[in-house]
């Protein structure tokens, strides 16, 4: 999956770019024909790759300064007038500092703000836990009226941003800043709440989200090549509403299931899947891979991934344990 695949989608989502860059390019593209697209930032236009947007559409960007509560409240006020508002801030601050504004001003009041959590998960690496967002899926899952999306590659990111712009309910989209390979050249469908099967297999199912789908695919290749184990890989880009139909379908085979996420093992994708499966009579062998409940190790995003087994090797090893 390391090679660059040219998959230009309306001149934006070339592959192997950071999802962050695709987000920014997509927003610019949308803003060219839609004056209601408004970006709201908390001194985050640089880290959100939104400087060109601000230069091109100075009337469509609102700078709040470092004040995330106000960022979300103002965004809700703007959205209440019909604006298509993208509130952009590092995921760690957006979903913790401004949680009450997300709960009340956005979700409860149904002001359809598109909350964009940039540099999500452990993207900030060695900057440490203040800058990590390993809680966002968990806390937002418990809030009614919120779609939660973690696009895996450039294609999913572009599609998610386009869909969010036209969606009349609150959406949270989080991604990182690492360059991401294209997951599938053939699977071109994307809608919120529908997982994408990016690799078909017959022995095991790997369900991953966001930037962990790529190591999931890598593990599937290793398992095939080294152990003759054939794995299905699902990009479960929407954490809520979760694709129960797809879950039931992969569970029916009886194959073991591994979930992977750049999030605490508590309250995220894995526990959401487990909850559905166990309540619906599926007893597949099951393993959640994510960041454990501990003081997160210091390192780059990749080093943290490797440390906790969010890597081709780590996932393959876990799969072998489950398939034996």
């Amino acid at each position: 999956m390391e090679e660059i695949v040219d998959a230009t989608i309306e001149n934006i989502a070339v592959t192997n770019r950071a999802n962050l860059e695709v987000f920014s390019a997509t927003l610019q593209h949308l803003a060219e024909t839609d004056r209601d697209i408004i970006v709201v930032t908390s001194d985050s236009r640089g880290s959100g790759k939104l400087v060109p947007f601000g230069q091109k559409f100075p009337e469509q960007i609102v700078e709040i300064g470092i004040a995330e509560q106000n960022l979300v409240g103002v965004s809700a006020g703007l959205a209440s007038t019909g604006k298509k508002v993208f509130a952009v801030s590092p995921a760690c601050f957006l979903t913790a500092r401004a949680l009450e504004q997300i709960k009340n001003d956005v979700a409860y009041s149904n002001n359809p703000v598109k909350l964009i959590g940039i540099s999500a998960g452990v993207s900030y690496g060695a900057l440490g836990s203040t800058h990590h967002s390993l809680h966002d899926f968990a806390v937002l899952r418990t809030i009614n009226n919120m779609i939660i999306v973690a696009p895996a590659d450039n294609f999913e990111t572009e599609q998610a941003i386009r869909l969010a712009a036209e969606t009349n309910v609150p959406v949270y989209i989080r991604f990182g800043k690492k360059q991401m390979p294209l997951l599938s050249e053939s699977e071109k469908s994307f809608e919120f709440g529908k997982g994408r099967i990016v690799r078909e297999g017959s022995d095991l199912t790997i369900i991953a989200t966001g930037e962990t789908v790529a190591p999931g695919l890598k593990a599937a290749e290793q398992l095939e090549n080294d152990h003759n184990i054939s794995a299905t890989v699902v990009s479960m880009h929407t954490i809520k509403p979760l694709d129960y139909k797809l879950l039931a379908s992969v569970a029916t085979s009886g194959n073991p299931i591994i979930t992977i996420e750049e999030h605490s093992v508590y309250g995220g994708l894995g526990e959401a899947c487990a909850s559905f499966l166990i309540q619906n009579g599926y007893h597949n062998r099951f393993k959640i891979i994510g960041i454990p409940d501990e003081y997160t190790v210091t390192g780059s995003q990749q080093e943290i991934f490797n440390h906790y087994g969010i890597s081709g090797d780590g996932i393959a090893a876990a799969a072998l344990g489950l398939c034996r």
């Binding site: 409240g73 103002v74 809700a76 006020g77 703007l78 007038t81 009340n104 001003d105």
Partner: protein, 275 residues
């Protein structure tokens, strides 16, 4: 509505606030009575908003930041025809839309509030949108003095001045009491006028129960071009009912039948003295 009509309306509203809180056995009595004259003047004199055109993009907006005094807002909206007043018989009852804080499920309510320190940011966003779209609407929000220590208010106050939102008017219902005591003992925010002025707002003081002063202040908004306006309304918690005035227990105290009857009698007498 004329000043004289508004004065009568205030008495009527006070009776209704007490009636529905008494019936529901729940509500924020003291604060509803302190802000009711402000809401009366806003909805019956100042704001360009009505039930038939509530979806108009040009309507003036009212966002109640001190959401707990929703009973005041409900009785005003009912009298303005947003919903039948009889709906208020269900206040705080099982499965009612008329809960103890503002909710958009009730026609006429702009934003769900109740957690404190949210109304000003919502108002700033709404006012920025008005400027973007070159619409003439104005945004009004009533803040409680007890909620001012919430930091989000000050974040929003900065933005309002930064974006020169002279289409935004906040009214501080300065009744001086909050649930655990006088605001100056709990967390003193005075001199609040100087604080807002330092943040870039234009500030005026009014007697928050003087209809003429409220009308005049709202007529003068924006106080300065390019600045958000703050009206510091000096009010009395429990205003109009002698045994409730400035008494902490009436923050969310509910009158018993004798107290209710006494209060209505007091308001009847007051009404007789009005011109």
């Amino acid at each position: 509505m004329s000043e004289k009509e508004l004065a009568h309306k205030s008495v009527e509203y006070r009776k209704k606030i007490l009636k529905y809180i008494y019936q529901a056995k729940a509500g924020h009595t003291g604060g509803s009575l302190s802000c009711i004259d402000i809401l009366n003047v806003l909805y019956n004199y100042t704001m360009n908003v009505d039930a038939l055109h509530f979806d108009s993009p040009d309507r003036d907006r009212y966002i109640q930041s001190k959401g707990h005094t929703v009973e005041a807002l409900y009785v005003v909206l009912a009298s303005r025809g947003f919903f039948p007043e009889s709906d208020l018989e269900t206040l705080c009852k099982y499965q009612s839309h008329y809960i103890g804080h503002p909710t958009r499920k009730v026609h006429g309510i702009e934003q769900n509030t109740g957690a404190l320190g949210h109304g000003l940011s919502l108002s700033v966003g709404t006012a920025i949108a008005g400027k973007m779209d070159k619409r003439d609407y104005r945004v009004f929000t009533v803040l409680g003095d007890g909620e001012l220590p919430e930091g989000s208010n000050w974040e929003a106050a900065l933005s309002a001045a930064h974006y020169k939102l002279d289409n935004l008017c906040a009214i501080l219902d300065k009744n001086g009491l909050q649930i655990s005591g006088p605001t100056h003992d709990v967390c003193n925010t005075d001199p609040v006028d100087q604080k807002f002025e330092a943040f870039g707002w234009s500030v005026r003081h009014v007697d928050g129960h003087n209809i003429a002063e409220l009308m005049e202040a709202f007529d003068a908004v924006p106080f300065e071009k390019g600045k958000p306006s703050l009206i510091i309304a000096h009010t009395v918690k429990g205003k109009g009912i002698s045994y409730m005035e400035n008494q902490l227990k009436w923050h969310h105290g509910v009158p018993d039948s004798k107290q209710y009857a006494d209060a209505i009698q007091e308001l009847d007498l007051l009404e007789e003295t009005l011109p």
